[in-house]
C-alpha cells in the first residue's frame, strides 16, 4: 500500500472537504435513484431488461423497489388505461418527496397508437413528468440515458424545493 502522510495539523486537525448543502444533498439524491417497479405494458420488458445484469442499472445506483414508499422515481413504462389512471396517481401520491417521474414510450407520452376511448392520452394528464423517452419501445440504453439526464437535472436543483424554477432546470 502506498504510504500517505496526512498532515492533519494543517487542516485544523481533521480531514476536511468543503461543499455546500445543495451539492451534498443532490449528490446523494442523484446517485441513488430508486425507481418504483411500474411496468404497464410491453415497455415494461425493456425496463426489466435495463434492471437486469446485461444493462445493469445498479451501477448507476438505481435499484428497483416494489413499494412506492421506498422509491423516489416513478418510471411509467407502457400504456396507461383510464381504469388504471386512478391507481397510478395514488401510487405517485404515496411516494415520499422529493420524487421524479420518467414517462417511457410513446404510449405513456401521448397515448401512442392507442388513440381510443380507454387509454389516457399522455400520463402528464395525471402526474407531472420530468423526462419523456420517445420510442416504441425505447431501448434499455435510452432509459439509462434518461436516468442520467435526470441525475443531471437533480444536480441542478436546489435543496430547497421552493427555489426550483422550471427554466433553471432545463437540460437542453
Amino acid at each position: 500500500m502506498a504510504q500517505h502522510k496526512v498532515n492533519y495539523a494543517s487542516n485544523g486537525g481533521l480531514p476536511v472537504a468543503l461543499t455546500s448543502v445543495d451539492k451534498l444533498l443532490n449528490w446523494g439524491r442523484s446517485n441513488s435513484l430508486w425507481p418504483l417497479t411500474y411496468g404497464l405494458a410491453c415497455c415494461a420488458i425493456e425496463m426489466m431488461a435495463s434492471g437486469g445484469s446485461r444493462f445493469d442499472f445498479d451501477r448507476l445506483g438505481t435499484i428497483f423497489r416494489a413499494s412506492p414508499r421506498q422509491s423516489d422515481l416513478m418510471i411509467l413504462a407502457g400504456t396507461l388505461s383510464k381504469k388504471h389512471a386512478e391507481f397510478a396517481r395514488r401510487l405517485y401520491d404515496q411516494m415520499p418527496e422529493p420524487k421524479w417521474v420518467i414517462s417511457m414510450g410513446s404510449c405513456a407520452n401521448t397515448g401512442g397508437m392507442f388513440n381510443t376511448y380507454a387509454t389516457v392520452q399522455g400520463v402528464d394528464r395525471i402526474v407531472p413528468v420530468d423526462i419523456y423517452i420517445p420510442g416504441c419501445a425505447p431501448r434499455p440504453e435510452t432509459l439509462q440515458y434518461a436516468v442520467m439526464m435526470l441525475q443531471k437535472k437533480i444536480r441542478k436543483e436546489s435543496a430547497n424545493m421552493k427555489k426550483n424554477k422550471k427554466q433553471d432546470l432545463r437540460l437542453v
Binding site: T116, A118, R170
Partner: protein, 259 residues
C-alpha cells in the same frame, strides 16, 4: 391461404379504392357429415336453420331456447367445451344483436356455432350452470354490449371500470370516446373543477402549435427557447458543414491505395 395481391407498388397506387366493397361470404354448405347430421337430429325442432361453414356447423335457434339447446349439445352430443360467447351489433341494420356460442367436441374434434338473435333491451338466459367459462364471457358481453344474462351469479363489468358509462363495442360508441370517457380520469382523480386546468385531450398526434417555441421550432427560422414570435421571426440561413458538400470522387487524394 389468402389470395396473393402484388404489393410492390402499394405506396404509389392505392390497391383498395372501392368504398362499397363487400367482403365475399364464406360459402354455406349442406350438412353431409355423419356426426353433424346426428347433432341436427338430436336437436330436432329447435333448429331453425343449419349449414356448414369451413367445417363448422352453424345452428340458428330461438334466443329463448339457448339453455335447452346447449344442454342437449353438452349431454347428448359431447360438446363439453364452450370456447367463446359474444355478440355482434346489428342494431342499425336489423334492430337486433346476434349472440353466438362457439362449442367444441374434443372426442370428435368438431366445432359447432350456435347463433341466435336478440332484440335490443331483452335479456338472455345465462348458461353458467352448464359451462363455467360462460361466467367471464357473459360478463364481457354485458360490459361491451349491455346485454344482460338472466340468473348470472355475478353480472358486473369485467374490463371497463364499474362506474363507466356506455358500452364500448356498440357500433354507435365513438372510437375515441364520448364526453364522459374523455374526462374520465380527470373527473375521477382531481374532480370536475380541474377540467379547465388540465384541458382537453390532444387526439391529433401531428398537432403543431405555431407560436409555441418551447416545444417546436421551424426549420430555417430557429429562435432561442421560449421567445415570443407572435410578431414574426427572421430567416436564418441553413449552414451546412463544409465536409458535408465535399465531392470525394473528383479529389486528388486517393484514400484506398489498392485501387
Amino acid at each position: 391461404m389468402r389470395k396473393y395481391t402484388p404489393k410492390d407498388n402499394v405506396q404509389g397506387k392505392a390497391y383498395y379504392t372501392d368504398r362499397f366493397w363487400v367482403a365475399p361470404r364464406v360459402p354455406r354448405q349442406v350438412v353431409e357429415d355423419e356426426h353433424f347430421k346426428a347433432v341436427v337430429e338430436a336437436l330436432g325442432e329447435r333448429v331453425k336453420e343449419a349449414y356448414v361453414e369451413i367445417n363448422n356447423l352453424v345452428l340458428h335457434i330461438d334466443a329463448t331456447q339457448n339453455y335447452a339447446v346447449l344442454e342437449t349439445l353438452k349431454d347428448t352430443c359431447g360438446y363439453k367445451v364452450c370456447s367463446e360467447i359474444s355478440a355482434v351489433d346489428y342494431l342499425a341494420k336489423e334492430g337486433e344483436f346476434e349472440i353466438f356460442y362457439q362449442m367444441l367436441n374434443l372426442d370428435k374434434a368438431k366445432r359447432v356455432r350456435v347463433v341466435c338473435r336478440l332484440k335490443k333491451g331483452l335479456a338472455i338466459e345465462s348458461v353458467v350452470p352448464l359451462f363455467k367459462s360462460a361466467n367471464f364471457a357473459e360478463r364481457e358481453m354485458y360490459d361491451m354490449f349491455g346485454i344482460k344474462a338472466n340468473n348470472h351469479p355475478f353480472l358486473k363489468r369485467i374490463l371497463m371500470p364499474d362506474d363507466w358509462e356506455g358500452h364500448p363495442l356498440l357500433k354507435t360508441y365513438p372510437l375515441q370516446g364520448d364526453e364522459f370517457a374523455s374526462w374520465y380520469e380527470v373527473d375521477k382523480i382531481f374532480g370536475k373543477a380541474y377540467r379547465d386546468i388540465i384541458g382537453p385531450e390532444n387526439r391529433d398526434p401531428a398537432r403543431i402549435e405555431r407560436y409555441d417555441t418551447k416545444r417546436f421550432s421551424r426549420v430555417g427560422y430557429e429562435v432561442s427557447f421560449d421567445t415570443d414570435i407572435s410578431g414574426g421571426e427572421t430567416k436564418t440561413e441553413i449552414e451546412y458543414s463544409s465536409t458535408f458538400l465535399t465531392d470525394y470522387n473528383t479529389g486528388t487524394k486517393q484514400l484506398d491505395k489498392r485501387k
